[in-house]
Each structure stands twice: as C-alpha cells, then as structure tokens.
C-alpha cells in the first residue's frame, strides 16, 4: 500500500442553498423541449396527417361519433412509429453520446434528467397529436348539426402515445445503440398492427378490447345511445399502468452508470433509498393497474349495439338513450323525421322516399310517416345490413347507418329506401337471421322473405313503375313468369294499379292470390 499527502487541511463543508427541485426540473425540461429531435419529423407528420386522417375524416358524414373514430383509427397508428422511434432515440442519448460518466457525477439522480428528456419528447408527441385532433374537430364542428365532440378517443389516444413514448424511451435507455430506435419503432408498430388485426378479426380475449385503433364504437353510439365508458377507462388503466411501470423501471435502470453487475448495483443504489422506493412503488402501481385493467378487459362482452362493454363499469349506461328532438319534413301527406345530427340528410332522404310514399298512399298498411330509429330498435336482419327498416303501425322505422355509413350516394339511397318500403308493404319483413345446428356447431345465416310469386310480380311491377330495379334478394334471378307478370303490372295505369291493390292487397299478402291472378 502506498500513501501520498498533499499539504493543508480542507475547508469546512459548506451548506449550499438547495434549489427548488421543480424549478430546476422545469428549466431542464425547457432545454429538452427545445432540443427534442421529434421536431424534425413534424413536417412529415403534417403531410401524413393531411393525406391520411384529415382527408378520411372530411370524407365521412359530419357526425361526431363517426368523425372522431379517425382519431384512433388513423391518426393514432400514424403517430406510433414516429413517437416510438424518436422516444427511443432520446432514450439512447446518454449511451450514444458517451455522457453517462460525466452525468453520473452530477447531484441530481439520473432519473430526473431521464424523465425530463422523456417529457421533452412526449411534449411534442402529445402536442402534435392534440393539434391534429383540434384540426379535425374544428373542421367537423363547422359542419355538424348536433352533439358535442367526444373526448374519450382524445384521452385514450394521448395516454396511449405517452405509453408508447415511455416504453420506447425506457428500451432506449436500457439498450443504447445506433439501431435501437429503428428496431423499437418497427417493433411497436408491429405490435399495434397485430392488436388491430385481432380487434378487426374479433378473436376474443383482452387484446381486441385494448387495441385503440380497433375499438371503434357503432354509429348509434353518441347519437341514440350514450357511448360506453368502460372500454376507454380500461384502456387508460392499462396504458397508464404500462407507462408507470416503464418509468419505474427507468428509475431502477442499471444503465444510469457503471459497468458490470457491481456497477449496475451501485447505479441502482445511486439514487438512494427514497428514489429506489419511489421507482419500485411506481412499478408496483403500474403493474397493479395493468393487472386490473387486463382483468376487466377479460370480462368485456360484445354490446348489442356494436363494440364492447365492460359489465362492471357500463352497467346501466348502455341502455340509456340520449334525448333528442327529431327534425322532420313534410312532403304531401307523409312526414319524414331524422335524428338532428343527420339534419343535412333530411331533404335527400325525403326526396328518396317520396315516390314510394306517393305510389303506395292509401293502401292498407302503407306508411304515412317515416322515422329514423336506432339500429338496435330494428330486427337482427336489418342490423346485419339487409334493408333499412320495417313498417310498424303505419310508421316506416328505418336506420340511416346502412345507407350513409361512410360514403352517402344519393341514387343508392333512393333505390334502397323505395325498394325497402315497397317490399314492406307488398311482401312484409326482409327476412330473418336463423341459427341452425351443424356438425361443427351452430351456424347463423340470413333467410330472405322473398314472398309468393304473385307478391314478387306485384312488387317488381311497382318498382319498375318507379323506375327502379327489382328487389335484390340473395338470388336476384326471378322465378320463371314473374318478370313477365311484373312488366305487365307495371304497364297498367297508376290508377288501375292502385285500385287493384286496394281491393286485393290483403289477399295478396295472405298468399291467396296466384301469379295468374295478377293483372
């Protein structure tokens, strides 16, 4: 052992004034925000935003529930790869730039500066996301006629992106290297895509429930029914849990300095007992939230109105309808009423139904009013996309979901409603969903109500007189003789048709009139 001595004694330790930690962190955060590399990808994100989420949103009908789906369906996945890549890049900074030793001699724990660096990237990520949401929502607010902007997609999206940043940053800090950022970005994007595929495929289990871009509520949500809050709450729980666990892990990271197991242990200890406790507590809270969230997601059931509901959270909410005053228009002797959110379609829908209403006016069972209702109020066959509604007590109850879901087409709208109304008056229901037992288990299928040959001929004749195609059954080829009878009926004067129908509609619907008896 050797000894060296340099003269004089040391000055007495001085008690330096301690700065306020939050002020200090705020100043470091300001520097991190200023130097975040995420800023460099903003122009590319803007272009991507305009050509993908924004363009998609503006092509949808101006309905809050529909337009807001773009936030999680399109914008969120677009943001994931950039957020993950740049957060991981920020996480690798100390390793890449070889500053671990130098920073390891500073008084603040490594956790402080890493959290500031993470917050710097997250600030821009969440800021860019919110700016995009504001653009979509402002544009939508200028067109919608009813409702308020839904906040749950915004909250879920923001928390989801914070989770992506935290996980990517922690991976970057734990495995610093030149290729860490691209690998993490691609890996997290693939995870997102895989979850989305599971959600679309409805494979069951908690993943489809938790996938932000897969959890799109049905159109009725937010219009006729309150949106379920269970799924967003569980998503925020799980994403928040993963975020806290990742941040806690960052506080326990051996990569805060030192090499080898001894260096790792000393680095873990570097922050002191309080920091270790805080990091462990965050990890524990995060894991607990994750576990509870996954447990709740596992209890999710398919909602009758589409999407998922968490029974323990959504109990009672799903059945609550949203009060509204319908908007109506009158044309001749009939009235058409729509949900106020669809006010802009009122003229179009009224003119689409008008010829059929006029043609059938005065017939027994013919509707005198058309009223839009929630999809859940209609039979399963209609829910499955067969027709638009049914006639109940002289009211044609219909949904616009099947007609205007994404791209409203005026001619399709006209064909669809008139065929539906004529079919309802002459034949009856569109059909039913039947369940049959098979060797491999139960199978469901649509059984169309095509009616008798005479009903088909009269229906076809009326539609032909209206200038429409015959009613589209699964098998569109009409039986032999029906087309000829339909053409013959269509050639009759309207007054003659009407008089015959008044006299014979009850017998026609009862099936006692044969094809030969059709004039």
């Amino acid at each position: 052992m050797s000894t060296a001595l340099v003269s004089e004694s040391a000055p007495a330790p001085t008690a330096a004034p301690r700065p306020r930690p939050w002020l200090l962190a705020a100043r470091i955060l300001r520097m991190e925000i200023r130097h975040s590399a995420f800023v460099w990808c903003l122009p590319l994100l803007v272009v991507l935003f305009i050509f993908d989420p924004y363009r998609t949103a503006t092509s949808y009908p101006a309905l809050w529930p529909l337009r807001s789906t773009v936030v999680l369906n399109k914008f969120w996945p677009d943001m994931v790869i950039f957020s993950a890549g740049f957060a991981a890049w920020a996480g690798t900074r100390e390793g890449r730039r070889n500053t671990s030793d130098l920073l390891g001699t500073t008084a603040r724990p490594a956790w402080t500066r890493q959290l500031c660096s993470l917050a710097g990237t997250t600030f821009w990520v969440v800021g860019a996301f919110l700016a995009g949401v504001v653009a979509i929502y402002v544009q939508t607010s200028q067109q919608v006629t009813w409702g308020t902007p839904p906040m749950s997609p915004v909250i879920v999206g923001a928390v989801g992106l914070i989770m992506v940043c935290a996980v990517a940053f922690t991976l970057g800090a734990l495995f610093p290297g030149r290729f860490t950022a691209p690998i993490v970005a691609v890996a997290l994007m693939l995870v997102t895509l895989a979850a989305f595929r599971q959600a679309v495929g409805s494979t069951g289990g908690p993943i489809p429930v938790l996938s932000p871009d897969g959890s799109v509520p049905d159109n009725d949500y937010g219009l006729f029914h309150h949106t379920t809050i269970g799924v967003p709450i569980v998503q925020v729980m799980v994403f928040g849990g993963i975020t806290l666990a990742a941040i806690g892990l960052l506080g326990l990271s051996p990569r805060t300095g030192g090499t080898g197991w001894r260096g790792a242990l000393s680095a873990i200890a570097a922050g002191g007992a309080r920091l270790r406790t805080a990091a462990l507590a965050l990890c524990a809270v995060g894991v607990a939230l994750l576990a509870v969230g996954l447990g709740l997601a596992g209890t999710a059931t398919g909602s009758p109105a589409g999407g998922y509901e968490i029974p323990s959270i959504d109990s009672g909410i799903i059945s609550k309808s949203i009060p509204y005053t319908p908007v109506c228009s009158s044309a001749g002797s009939f009235q058409v009423c729509l949900h106020p959110a669809l006010r802009s379609y009122l003229t179009q829908v009224t003119s689409a139904m008008s010829p059929a209403f006029t043609e059938l006016a005065g017939l027994p069972g013919a509707p005198v009013r058309a009223s839009e209702v929630a999809q859940t109020a209609l039979p399963r066959a209609v829910l499955a996309g067969n027709g638009d509604g049914l006639i109940t007590n002289g009211v044609y109850e219909f949904t616009l979901n099947n007609s205007v879901a994404l791209q409203p087409d005026p001619s399709l709208l006209q064909d669809s409603f008139q065929q539906d109304i004529v079919h309802a008056v002459i034949v009856g229901s569109v059909g039913e969903i039947i369940t049959s037992s098979q060797a491999g288990g139960a199978a469901t299928g649509f059984q169309p109500n095509t009616g008798t040959l005479a009903q088909q001929a009269v229906e076809g004749g009326l539609l032909e007189a209206l200038g429409l195609q015959p009613y589209q059954y699964p098998n569109p080829t009409p039986p032999s003789g029906v087309a000829a009878a339909a053409a013959k009926f269509a050639a009759l004067p309207a007054a003659t048709q009407h008089a015959w129908l008044i006299a014979n509609l009850a017998a026609l619907k009862a099936g006692t009139i044969t094809l030969a008896q059709v004039p």
């Binding site: 050797s2 330096a16 030793d101 001699t105 500073t106």
Partner: protein
Amino acid sequence: MNIELTGVTRSFGSNKAVDGVSLEAGPGVLGLLGPNGAGKTSLLRMLATVLPPSSGQIRLLERDPGRTADRRDIRRRLGYLPQNLGYYPAFTVVEFIEYFALLKEVPSARVPRAVAAAVEGVDLGAKAKSRLRTLSGGMLRRVGIAQAIVNDPDLLLLDEPTAGLDPEQRVGFRALLRSLGETATVVVSTHLVEDVGAACSEVTLMDDGHIVFRGTPADLVTRGEGHAIGDAPLERGYSAVLQAARAAGQGAVAA
C-alpha cells in the same frame, strides 16, 4: 482533507487497476502522472463517485460517498472532466454548461452568472451561442472544462484536460488551474509533465495501480538528476522514478 483514500483497490475481473492506494489531499493542484494503464483514470473515476471501490475507504470533502445523502452533497461540490468528453451536438455552449449547472444543483438565481463566469474562464465568450457540433476539438475540451468548473467546485478532477489545446490556450489554462487551486483541491491526470511543472503544487506518480512517488515537482526533478532518459528535468525524474519502482517490485517510493 478534501480527499482521503485508505487502501483503495479497484479490480476489473482479475485485473487490479488500482491496488491499495492511500492518498490525502487538501486545497492545491495535484498532478497525477503515470504511463498508460497505470490506474489514473480508474482512480479519478472513483474520486468522481462514478466508480465504487472494490475495497478500501474513500472520504471526499469530509463525507462518505458510499452514503446517498453524502454522495449527493459531494457531487454538488464536485467538478469532473473525463478523458473522453461526451456532449450533445445540438446544444449551444451556454446551454450545455447551463444543463450541467442545473444538474449540479447550482441555485437557479446563480446559474446565469455561474455559466457566464465559466464560459469566460475558458475564454469561450465569443462562441457562447455556437452549437457544440460546430466547435473544434480544442474548443470542446474548453467546454468540458467549463462544465467542470461551473459550480465553483471544492474538488475538481480533470483527466487529460490540456489534450487538444494549443500552446497559448494551455498557458491560460495553467493559470486558471493555479487560481482554482488556491481554494479547491484540483487533481489533474496528465501525460504532459510540463503541465505538472507549470501548474501543480504536488505531484503523484502511479504505475501498475500503485502510487510510486509523491512530492513536489521540484522533488521529482531532483529524483531525475543524473538520469539519462528524458529531454526535460521533469521527464528525467519521471523516468527515474518509474525505473526505480519497477526495479524494486512496485513498492512505495517516498519523496
């Protein structure tokens, strides 16, 4: 004493980088000389609290760096320039130094003044707003020195601080070292014996993990009298001490 080492050893696997070193140092400039692999950088990293010793005791600024609260207090009063300075290219000179001032918990109100003083201290005032990626190697070295002194440290550890500096800058830097050494303990690890002669009040020579010489630069010059190897008196002393230590089997050599 600002530095008190007692039987400090640091091993990396089977290799003992620092082997049973004891050292005490108060205010002044202590030169740490030695050939490559002598253990200077490992010793400095232990003094900088980034590397724990495998065995032995370390007390810095009359505190125990093994205790969390003490270590944090030491770090507030510590300046460190590593051999290879890592830096963030997008930061400006002022931002980089301010970043370290904040991490060293310099009180917020004092930060602007402390940063300005550090920048002026290394004569980088004209480049204060330049991004680090635009600076030459010598300027980056001065930025490294500035971050080390921004908190007005009581213990300053510099590993090869003059590498990359031109002769004029080196002269200025030696003056800065002498000035800092009046109140703080400055440990300068270097291969350049002229730096030791010009700036250090004490010199310690390490070889193979041991301290093989301690004394003043004049003592080292005396040890080299009559020794053939070396162009300058200090170099002859350096060479003579190493030769004697190796001949004696790495024992301690008193001044």
